[in-house]
Symmetry: C2
Subunit: 252 residues, 2 copies
């Protein structure tokens, strides 16, 4: 058996999830904490590789003894979240831990993941939103949000999302199945929510950048269909900044 | 005429509102920004002196030319928030500016101010709440919140709040009029809201610490009345940490 951890982290001060030499990463902190708690080196495998600055309300990873398929500990699963969090910095927190089979894979076994992207749309910056949303001062009206929402609906379904993938990415298939996609406003915050069985590199951020073009009248909502079909990155909008993006749900 | 600014700030990286030599303060940043924008030294006078780590969703201050009662500028009032915010760091933002009479005083003319104090009550820390609420892991039940709310109701009215003032404070009168006081829970966050015509030093934080004693069964809700009447600081609870406190409303 290995451990499946459910955690959240504020991405601001991390160089992304994945471990890198001499950089502060989420995986690096989890490795250190797991070693402190269990007393041996561990393999920590995440459900995704979030970029520098990207946040997670929910993130999953498995923990096994280094080089093995599982781990053995006397600590009861329900005690692990607090015990592990005690060895973690304040910007990562483990809120649940369960035992899973040795062959469980936190990335390949995902049914779907949900990301949210937050925009702060106000005439001046909100200090409490700094690093937690994309600040856009130019007015986005209710009608604009409606257009963004309409445009987002074209993402739903199984499509080749090459147009929404960072150039130079190398993947076997660029086809993904988007389960739902919506845009809503609450006060100054506009939230784009999207779920899929998998995401290409920068996919949500390029979708967001494209939806902002829609809000600004640069792209008609119904043109999203053509952009998808073009498979041409240059047809889509800019890549929205990392700090507005949150991995929000992981469903197995 | 002088300018009345409405601003918000994230208190985390400030040594409080009031200017201090070689320390990063809100007033210090406002002084610098005002000088950049208007081209002359200014007197910035705040509605309150928040402590290090305390936040403001709403804070007011007036700006006049240094040593004078008002200031003259060609910049229209509605342009000032963005113009001034451009000279401010991301943790302060000016969201409104209006002209007021020379004799207006941002502290003495306050009808009432509202503070909120946020507690995060969950089995593990929430990374997104770090520095923005008081983390209390021990379970606070709905019944406990009800008791806190009942206890808070005893604060309402005109009372001598000496028992809720940091020792060593020096003020002419320790009588304040509390307009309303309530405690509510939403998810993991418990919010204490209190409004008064003025607050003694650390008053809200001592009230909060006392209400947490109520939640923990150390103090019966109805004993708040006695504690107020005792005028004895040692009868009240601990001083809650600064980083859960927000100046939320200022009414003139």
């Amino acid at each position: 058996m290995k451990l499946l951890l459910w955690l959240s982290y504020l991405g601001t001060d991390f160089c992304g999830y994945q471990i890198q030499k001499d950089k502060r990463t989420v995986q690096g902190e989890l490795n250190t904490a797991a070693k402190c708690l269990f007393g041996f080196d561990c393999d920590v495998t995440g459900c995704s590789r979030t970029d520098s600055g990207v946040h997670a309300n929910t993130f999953c990873c498995t923990v096994a003894k280094k080089g093995e398929n599982g781990l053995v500990t006397d600590i009861e699963a329900h005690r692990i979240p607090r015990a592990l969090s005690a060895h973690l910095p304040p910007d990562i927190s483990v809120f649940d831990a369960v035992w899973v089979d040795d062959d469980f894979h936190p990335r390949y076994d995902v049914k779907y993941k949900e990301y949210v992207y937050r925009i702060c749309n106000a005439s001046v910056r909100d200090p409490f939103e700094e690093g937690r949303s994309w600040y856009i001062p130019r007015v986005i009206t209710d009608k604009d949000v409606e257009n963004m929402s309409k445009a987002a609906s074209f993402f739903v379904g199984e499509h080749d999302f090459s147009a929404f993938m960072a150039q130079g990415s190398n993947v076997q298939s660029t086809v993904r199945n988007v389960t739902y996609a919506s845009v809503e406003r609450e006060g100054d915050v506009i939230t784009f929510k999207v779920a899929a069985n998998g995401f290409l590199y920068n996919m949500v951020r390029i979708m967001m950048g494209t939806l902002v073009y829609v809000a600004q009248g640069k792209i008609e909502p119904c043109r999203i269909k053509e952009i998808i079909e073009s498979r041409d990155r240059s047809m889509a909008g800019t890549t929205a900044p990392a700090h507005g993006l949150y991995l929000n749900k992981v469903v197995y």
